[in-house]
């Protein structure tokens, strides 16, 4: 029985003049876990919003037999409110006509917590939670809302491997409780491990729906990106050269050498963010450090400025004489970067109208142009489609060959393992462990360290 059936819908956004969906169809059976995959900008999120009913389509038919609840890519939780308040928004139990019955809400949520085996202190403010816990709050919220169909937009992107594993288990248990689940993800594991079927989208169109069991993992990734996935092969035989840069983190000195990639990882609130802030500070005073921020939407680019303005932001003085900007020089330069790094956009377009992948390309293009010796890359592939991510990996690889040193800060343990010469794992604001021999590094080991377990 189809719980969701979508026939030939289209959606056009006048704000940025995009045809987000055209003639899209999708059918979802009750009780299944259905993944939706495709590149960035394929229209997946828009489709989910339409299913959830927060966006209306221009044409086509939609039939949904149940209540939907959606957990979107960027959390909608309100930092200054506590967990309980966040969960009950929209479904507040009421006494005496208009007063929120917090006691009742407390009981109801606790019931859910017990039922699914979660544990959370409902009076904690959201800002004090780790990313994984926030995710959990979002999930509880949709369960609390009595939703039959749960929609997840890239739920594991921000999670550590251990948390992602936990999350997948949660989805399976939700499935057991007869919930229907739709999930958007770029992570192959999300699809291969839990989904029953997955649908591939490209450029707003339906491509095909595949039963997960019928294909193997490499097929899935090919299906997802449309191109063959190339696993980055970092040449670990290149020996690190002379010292480039060092800094002290919590009494421990970390030194970066030529042709070396140092990975730093950990879970949610392990201190990675604070470390990033410190490193950003260092990059400001040192021309030889290039910095790619994790929060690219606010720190990496300026959404309301023209793309060319974003591209020259780090070094406007290079394009000026006596303080006067030479716009012709800036235009030529920007055009060069756009072609060289294949950024889909014009130099005069508003930066905010670019897709996520193209935004990250712009950031990296700008940093690469500086030609620094040291690179600080923070979650460089977060929320980016496989093809773009692969390009970034290739770029890192070639940097290493050019004797550059790279600090890779990432919550993605696999990424860190794939790329690094050595890995530092943070836990509660300090380095809990260092892996020097990359042959023993596994996501599981890093996960263990990240949770504070070191003695085994």
């Amino acid at each position: 029985m189809n719980i969701v059936s979508i026939e030939h819908i289209s959606k056009y956004f006048s704000v940025n003049d995009t045809q987000a969906l055209s003639d899209m169809s999708l059918e979802i059976t009750k009780g299944e876990i259905h993944a939706v995959v495709g590149e960035n900008g394929a229209g997946k999120s828009t489709l989910m919003k339409i299913i959830h009913g927060v966006e209306k389509c221009d044409s086509g038919n939609i039939k949904i037999n149940g209540k939907t609840g959606m957990v979107s890519q960027h959390f909608r939780l309100i930092e200054s409110l506590n967990i309980l308040e966040n969960i009950i928004i929209g479904m507040e139990p009421i006494k005496k006509k208009f007063i929120v019955d917090k006691k009742k809400a407390f009981e109801q949520i606790n019931e859910i917590l017990v039922f699914y085996g979660f544990s959370l202190n409902l009076n904690t403010k959201i800002k004090d939670l780790s990313i994984g816990q926030k995710q959990l709050v979002e999930i509880i919220k949709v369960i609390y809302n009595d939703s039959d169909i749960l929609i997840f937009d890239e739920p594991t992107a921000a999670l550590s491997e251990l948390e992602a594993e936990k999350f997948r288990k949660t989805l399976l248990s939700l499935k057991e409780k007869e919930k229907t689940i739709i999930i958007i993800s770029h992570k192959i594991k999300d699809i291969s491990a839990i989904s029953d079927r997955f649908t591939i989208m490209r450029k707003g169109r339906y491509i095909e729906t595949v039963t997960t069991k019928s294909v193997d993992i490499s097929d899935i990734s090919r299906h997802m990106s449309g191109t063959e996935i190339v696993n980055p092969t970092i040449d670990r035989s290149i020996k690190p050269g002379k010292e480039l840069f060092s800094f002290i983190y919590n009494n421990e000195k970390i030194t970066l050498h030529e042709s070396e990639i140092i990975g730093i990882t950990g879970y949610g609130d392990c201190g990675l963010h604070e470390l990033e802030d410190t490193l950003e500070e260092l990059s400001l005073n040192n021309k030889n450090i290039g910095y790619v921020p994790s929060d690219r939407l606010s720190r990496g680019v300026e959404l309301n400025s023209a793309l060319k303005e974003t591209l020259v932001a780090k070094n406007p003085r290079e394009f000026s004489k006596y303080g006067l900007l030479n716009w012709r020089k800036i235009d030529t330069f920007s055009k060069k970067l756009i072609t060289e790094y294949n950024i889909k956009g014009t130099i005069n377009c508003q930066t905010g109208t670019l897709s996520g992948g193209n935004l990250q390309k712009s950031v990296i293009a700008r940093v690469l142009y500086q030609k620094p010796e040291t690179y600080i890359l923070c979650s460089p592939t977060w929320g980016i489609d496989i093809e773009s991510a692969n390009n970034i990996y290739h770029e890192i690889e070639s940097l290493k060959k050019q004797k550059k040193g790279i600090l890779l800060l990432s919550y993605d343990a696999e990424e860190v393992i794939k790329m690094s010469n050595r890995v530092y794992i943070l836990y509660k604001g300090r380095i809990i462990s260092t892996i020097k021999d990359m042959s023993v590094a596994t996501p599981e080991l890093i996960g263990k360290y990240s949770s504070g377990i070191i003695n085994e």
């Binding site: 006048s14 704000v15 940025n16 003049d17 995009t18 950003e280 400001l284 910095y291 921020p293 929060d295 606010s298 720190r299 990496g300 680019v301 300026e302 959404l303 309301n304 400025s305 023209a306 793309l307 303005e309 932001a313 780090k314 406007p316 003085r317 000026s320 303080g323 006067l324 900007l325 716009w327 889909k344 956009g345 014009t346 005069n348 377009c349 508003q350 930066t351 109208t353 670019l354 193209n358």
Partner: protein, 341 residues
């Protein structure tokens, strides 16, 4: 409804013209003539045209001032006090420096006006940086205090004797800005104002300083990450804003009134802020929005002189137009798109 919403220009025409015409038809005995006078009055002769441009000069400066503050993420609600301060300082210096060469005292005046009014808003921005006092509040409160203090100077200490206008002594004639289009009151202050907007437009667009100022105002996190000193630009923005308001006061005294008249600043600050908000993101648009504002004002003035339209009607018309052009729908239609290659 949705179709109309997609065509902002049409919507504006409908929402402004219709109520205007209705109002005129209700409140005027000869509505066609009233409307005609309202819209063509400012262009009907040299005198009216010159007055319209002269009305624009201080407005250009106050709206540029408000604009610069907005661009640096501050709100300057104290425009009126700053204009008054600039005017008072101008008046007091120019009426009391007969003993030094005129060119020197003119230069001195401009410098002191810029410094004092700039200092006032500088204090507000320091209060914001150091004590977390929102500049929106402090500029307003300080402006109210300034108005009373200036009033004390103008209507007590330096009041023109034997006059029944609450005004200071007129400034010596050599200090008056050159009249451009007699008998209208248009003075070379207009040229100063326009030059300054063009200058700022150029500075903001074509210099590293302007670039960093703009970026810093648009996005703090980004500019910080790019190594731009946000604090400096924020303080500078509000300071310049105050100085420009002071300059507006200077132009009003030397170009239009030739003395400091109590209460002359009425609405200058608010109109400046409005015109800046309407101008949106590009400084050069300030010229157009200020001209548009004074065109409406002058039209209203002509209408009150030549037809039976009252000041109130023109205020209502202005407010309607104002309301509608603030719509974001229009701005959205002007954004350059990335995927149109």
């Amino acid at each position: 409804m949705n179709n109309i919403l997609k065509k902002p220009a049409l919507l504006i025409v409908i929402l402004t013209i219709v109520p205007t015409v209705i109002l005129v038809f209700i409140l005027s005995k000869d509505p066609i003539y009233s409307l005609y006078v309202f819209f063509t009055g400012p262009f009907s002769n040299k005198f009216n045209f010159g007055n319209m441009l002269n009305r624009t000069s201080p407005l250009i400066l106050t709206s540029l001032g408000a604009f610069i503050a907005l661009k640096s993420n501050s709100f300057n609600l104290g425009g009126e006090g700053q204009v008054y301060l600039g005017a008072t300082v101008t008046g007091l210096i120019l009426t009391n420096t007969a003993f030094i060469p005129s060119s020197l005292s003119l230069l001195l005046t401009i410098v002191i006006v810029l410094l004092t009014t700039g200092f006032v808003t500088f204090v507000s921005s320091i209060l914001e940086e150091k004590y977390n006092v929102n500049s929106l509040i402090s500029t307003y409160l300080i402006s109210m205090i300034l108005i009373y203090i200036c009033d004390y100077f103008v209507t007590n200490l330096f009041l023109l004797e034997n006059s029944n206008i609450l005004t200071t002594k007129p400034i010596p004639e050599i200090f008056e800005l050159k009249s451009l289009l007699p008998p209208s009151s248009l003075s070379s202050g207009f040229i100063i104002a326009v030059t300054i907007v063009i200058m700022f437009s150029f500075l903001l667009k074509n210099t590293v300083w302007g670039y960093e100022f703009t970026i810093s105002g648009r996005n703090n996190a980004f500019s910080k990450s790019m190594g731009i000193n946000n604090k400096k630009y924020k303080i500078l923005g509000l300071t310049i804003s105050g100085a420009l308001h002071g300059l507006a006061g200077y132009i009003l005294v030397t170009g239009s009134y030739h003395s400091v008249i109590s209460g002359f600043y009425m609405n200058l600050g608010w109109n400046g802020l409005s015109s800046a908000l309407v101008a949106g993101s590009r400084p050069i648009m300030i010229l157009i929005s200020s001209l548009f504002f004074s065109y409406l004002d002058s039209g209203a003035s002509s209408a009150t002189v030549l037809s039976d339209v009252t000041i109130e009607l023109s205020t209502i018309i202005k407010s309607v137009i104002f309301f509608v052009i603030s719509s974001k729908l229009i701005k959205d239609s002007l954004i350059k798109k990335g995927n149109k290659t």
